[in-house]
């Protein structure tokens, strides 16, 4: 199915490592919503669908947000799929607009768990984590992906310092994103000297948890203020692709990668900009590899070449530099950033002639690695 919905509005709240008393998840979501509505040139009463993802609105649900935000709706969705929830919401909302179930859907995500709240979520993420990983002191996802990263290093002959260029590139982008929590540039020396968190992952390899919210509005009609409309040209997902029996160095993208490009009538070389879900550098590389972006799967050379070129990956800085407001808003931020690039609205981060972008979501660490992955090709025209 080729979707005809457009991304007509984008808005975000402040991202902060240390939220003040009034920076609650509801307030941050309100701010993101206000900004997205203004950007879309729409009023609250124009919104007839709401998709929402958040770890920290509990005990509230999507309908509570609808009520408290004064939204009267035909269509409602709450998505709990962590790093894949933003993409999941984009897919469901696109189909809802395609079928006429709703005309203007507000897709909203945000979290303000605080570090202790986040630690609680990380240690009881699912029953397997609660029962079989947390008692080991596995350190949440850092422990899980430290082992995945070690496997990737072995399989692709990478050394720890090879990863630096990806982090440095994203930090360079973050320096141009006013919302990013870390904007200082990063050097190889700083990366190599950084304290280990869970070997081989150092501080710069682990996402900084922030409080924040992000919102996009999907519509059946153009935003007439915008010169370019962004549409979803191709959208595929994979859930539990390997029963956790693989080693986590491949993702479910391998199940649909050819269909992803075929449906958009494009090939990997046509893509101008990428938002690759970046909970960990190894997972960015695994997804790029499965998307056939890395020539001959030679990750070492790919990373080395990052030194010399502007790499249009995670041009908002990604979660690794800009911050992770839960996994959910982080995923939505990636979608919004590609839309801004394709609409020529990315400010001093703007790439030249960006027409096609790929966005992904990855998440739901079941036991040994993530169980969900989604990818879409967006087009600006």
């Amino acid at each position: 199915m080729i979707f005809d919905s457009r991304i007509v509005g984008i808005g975000q709240s402040i991202y902060t490592r240390h939220p003040g008393e009034d920076q609650t998840v509801h307030n941050l979501m309100r701010d993101a919503t206000s900004n997205a509505l203004r950007d879309a040139n729409l009023d609250l009463k124009d919104i007839d669908g709401l998709a929402i993802a958040s770890f920290s609105i509990s005990p509230d649900s999507a309908i509570d947000i609808a009520w408290r935000f004064g939204l009267s709706l035909n269509w409602l969705l709450q998505d709990p799929n962590g790093g894949s929830s933003a993409m999941n919401m984009l897919g469901h909302a696109s189909r809802a607009i395609q079928t006429g179930a709703a005309k203007n859907i507000l897709i909203l995500a945000g979290d303000a768990t605080g570090l202790e709240g986040y630690a609680k979520i990380a240690n009881s993420y699912n029953s397997a984590t609660r029962d079989h990983l947390s008692p080991l002191g596995h350190g949440g996802p850092n422990g899980v992906y430290s082992l995945v990263t070690s496997r990737q290093m072995k399989e692709y002959n990478l050394s720890k310092s090879d990863y630096a260029n990806l982090l440095i590139s994203q930090r360079n982008w973050a320096s141009k994103n006013p919302y990013a929590v870390y904007k200082d540039t990063l050097t190889h020396e700083e990366y190599n000297a950084a304290p280990m968190v869970a070997d081989p992952l150092c501080r710069y390899d682990c996402v900084p948890v922030v409080a924040g919210a992000y919102s996009i509005i999907l519509s059946a009609e153009d935003n007439k203020k915008l010169e370019k409309q962004v549409k979803v040209r191709s959208f595929f997902q994979s859930f539990n692709y390997d029963n956790q029996e693989g080693d986590g160095t491949r993702t479910g993208i391998i199940n649909f990668v050819d269909k992803l490009y075929d449906q958009a009538k494009l090939s990997p070389s046509d893509i101008d900009v990428y938002s690759i879900y970046d909970d960990y550098p190894a997972i960015v590389l695994a997804q790029l590899n499965d998307l056939k972006v890395i020539k001959d799967s030679n990750m070492k050379e790919y990373l080395r070449n990052m030194n010399n070129e502007i790499i249009p990956i995670n041009t908002w800085g990604g979660m690794l530099s800009a911050g992770q407001p839960g996994g959910m808003a982080g995923g939505l931020n990636g979608i919004g950033e590609v839309a801004l690039q394709l609409q020529d609205r990315a400010g001093n981060r703007q790439l030249n002639n960006a027409k096609y972008g790929i966005v992904t979501g990855y998440g739901m660490t079941l036991y040994r690695h993530g169980g969900t992955v989604s990818a879409a090709i967006l087009e600006g025209e």
């Binding site: 570090l115 202790e116 986040y118 630690a119 609680k120 990380a122 397997a128 029962d131 079989h132 990983l133 947390s134 008692p135 080991l136 002191g137 596995h138 350190g139 949440g140 850092n142 422990g143 899980v144 430290s146 082992l147 070690s150 496997r151 072995k154 304290p195 280990m196 968190v197 869970a198 070997d199 081989p200 948890v209 029963n243 029996e245 080693d247 036991y367 040994r368």
Partner: protein, 99 residues
């Protein structure tokens, strides 16, 4: 410590951990509980930092793989190295590997 229990499909003998409700190989729903076989340490990590815990002491976890094709994450003592063949025990249901 008691040996960790694996779940073995009583139709096709595929082993799994943690518990599943259908065998991913044959769809059977009946499993026998068996003692986990020995496994080989494949990767090791040192958890040096724990969110929300200021007094954290570093400890090691590892990926261990059995000859029967099960990979799982275990706690290990400091002197364990990659390639070691270890027995897998249960500490209140959490897997821990020892010589």
């Amino acid at each position: 410590m008691e040996k960790l229990q694996f779940f073995e499909c009583n139709k096709c003998s595929k082993q799994t951990f943690p518990k599943k409700f259908f065998c991913s190989n044959c769809g059977n729903i009946d499993f026998d509980l068996i003692d986990a076989p020995e496994g080989k340490i494949k990767e090791i990590s040192v958890i040096r930092h724990m969110l929300g815990n200021k007094d954290w002491q570093p400890r090691k976890i590892a990926n261990i793989q059995t000859d029967t094709g099960v990979s799982l994450t275990v706690g290990i003592e400091d002197n364990i190295q990659i390639g070691d063949i270890l027995n897998i025990y249960s500490k209140d249901g959490a897997p821990f590997a020892k010589k």
